[in-house]
Symmetry: C2
Subunit: 358 residues, 2 copies
């Protein structure tokens, strides 16, 4: 006779990769519910991998994690090109599968397939004033960067409320964000407290931010990586693309001859080696050598090409494999959507009950 025993938390922790330093510092354990996600407006890049995808792959072994493909949020500033957003839903899903997000460990789901998110947003919109949303520093910065001025789509102004709906619908307790997104977490928790106070319940849990310690990966020209600048390395670049992009990478403008002492700070090649080279000690020695002089850029770049090829090759292979079987990808998304509809529908039902809306 045999039993199927649910794994204990010790087993869970033993099963996957070790928790990241971020997770340990933030005391993220298997009791936490984590929600992350991306807007499907383009292919993901190495910067996304370093900044968040990598940590999601680690997190999936330790916590209950959902990755949300936020198509509704993408439409808040892409309403003129819905087909572009729609196309990138599958492409982002493929990127997730490519980096090793495992749908049996981590739910992948699509925002617009979860009606409870829209329903919760409608309820929460009544609990936040227009003035409060206009004061949100993240929204202000993004409005400025998009040049919306007075022509802000209402959905864009409201998206912090929609994010609060996402977070609370999944009962997320931990939300990995960049520090520029902290006002969003604050806004979500304000709504949580308001719902709980209004309904005299504790129907919703507050969440906290999981800030990454990983420095932001620069573009190959040292500027902020951005799709429009074309200075980022795609998550599943071909070998030739890797070579071309690394060859074009900025190093140190003062390092004219091999024997000149070079600068490591602000040197894009070292930023990438720091992010991807598993041999930390060797990178440290390279840095010292480079600073002393006598180390050529071409040698460095050859090393980085090898390191990136090693990082990217398995992702590329997995992406090709899944891209061949689109029916499977749709099936995985459908399963994730079904599971998420149950979870978010449950949360909505509880909020409705708290508001006597039965």
């Amino acid at each position: 006779m045999s039993f199927s025993v649910p794994p204990s938390s010790a087993d869970l922790l033993a099963a996957g990769p070790a928790p990241t330093a971020d997770m340990l510092a933030a005391d993220v354990s298997e009791f936490h519910v984590v929600l992350t996600g991306d807007r499907p407006t383009g292919s993901l890049r190495l910067g996304h991998y370093v900044g968040s995808l990598q940590s999601r792959v680690a997190l999936q072994h330790h916590v209950q994690q959902t990755v949300l493909i936020a198509d509704l949020q993408a439409l808040t500033d892409n309403s003129g090109r819905p087909a572009h957003v729609a196309e990138h839903i599958e492409s982002v899903a493929l990127d997730y599968l490519a980096v090793g997000i495992d749908p049996s460990l981590c739910t992948i789901t699509v925002q617009s397939h979860l009606p409870a998110l829209a329903e919760l947003t409608m309820l929460y919109l009544n609990l936040v004033t227009v003035a409060r949303l206009e004061r949100n520093p993240t929204v202000r910065a993004e409005i400025a960067s998009r040049g919306f001025e007075r022509d802000i789509p209402t959905g864009f102004l409201c998206y912090p409320v929609s994010q609060a709906a996402d977070i609370t619908a999944f009962r997320a307790t931990v939300v990995p964000v960049g520090d520029d997104q902290l006002p969003m977490i604050e806004q979500a928790n304000e709504i949580v407290r308001r719902v709980n106070r209004l309904t005299n319940t504790s129907v919703l849990p507050e969440c906290r931010a999981l800030l990454s310690n990983t420095p932001r990966l620069p573009g190959i020209d040292g500027r902020k990586a951005s799709k429009s600048l074309g200075n980022a390395i795609p998550l599943t670049a071909t070998h030739d693309e890797i070579v071309a992009l690394v060859q074009a990478m900025y190093t140190d403008a003062t390092h004219l001859r091999v024997n000149d002492p070079g600068h490591v700070d602000g040197n894009v090649v070292f930023a990438y080696l720091d992010a991807f080279d598993p041999d930390v000690e060797a990178v440290c020695e390279l840095k010292m050598h480079y600073e002393r002089g006598g180390m050529g850029d071409s040698l460095l770049k050859r090393r980085l090409i090898d390191v990136l090829e090693e990082t990217i090759a398995p992702m590329r292979d997995r992406r090709v494999m899944f891209a061949r079987d689109r029916a499977l990808v749709h099936e995985l998304l459908a399963a994730g959507n079904a599971r998420s509809r149950e979870i978010t529908g449950g949360a909505l039902a509880e909020v409705r009950r708290a508001f006597s809306l039965t």
Copy 2:
């Protein structure tokens, strides 16, 4: 052998009360889809009957009509008292049944039970700028009358978009409104045109307003009827309430003695007789007599009491009957919600398809 034959449009027109003058003037035929509704924030009053309920009872024999209990919209300025809104859902449904809205002819449904409405709202919010909503004259007037100033709940600012979702989800072609609500219809049609243009389809139909010619029923003190002033007659007032309210009714301050000539204009009793007395000729004679002098207020008021009792008694009886069988009321609402979920879900699916969001 017998067949159940669906009624032809001629049968439909023959079956019920004659179309109202409003309907004929607006060329409302059986091909139209009509959406009306109320916010469940209190019991309905005779003013609602004259202004809209009466015409809904007539319309239900001629067109496909849905009456929406707009609980989500009620919450946009009642977020602090969700239980109050929730309680009035049933009470408004009872009022509908009391006045003779027949669920077999006209769908009664509850807004928050139709997820497609929230989902369409989320999509439409991206198509309307904040500045456009702030310019909406109806919203401006309502913001002023509620004293919101800068503390406007975001849901309140957004409610024209939510109404556009309601209208389009039911594919309504005719929406009965007061003239103060015309900007709402304009806003809805703007969204319809924007969706059709963006998706290069004609997925959504435009709608038009059905303006009532019926004058607004004043409060018993001659001012605008309002719950807070307590100057309105409840839809299902008891006989004693009718007597007390009619006795307190303003007539003509200059009409001190029976033999004095009296004024008909601005005389609340005559406004009510005009609205409810079926014997138009007799009312006309009364008016002439009153203006000549020799007609006492008490005689007039006795007539009005009888007229109102005759109008209200059957409503009161029906309301008592349905209130005794709350399970039936819930069943009727559940059936209306199920039917409406199908209709609105179908419209949402088509809009999603047009936006490639499948």
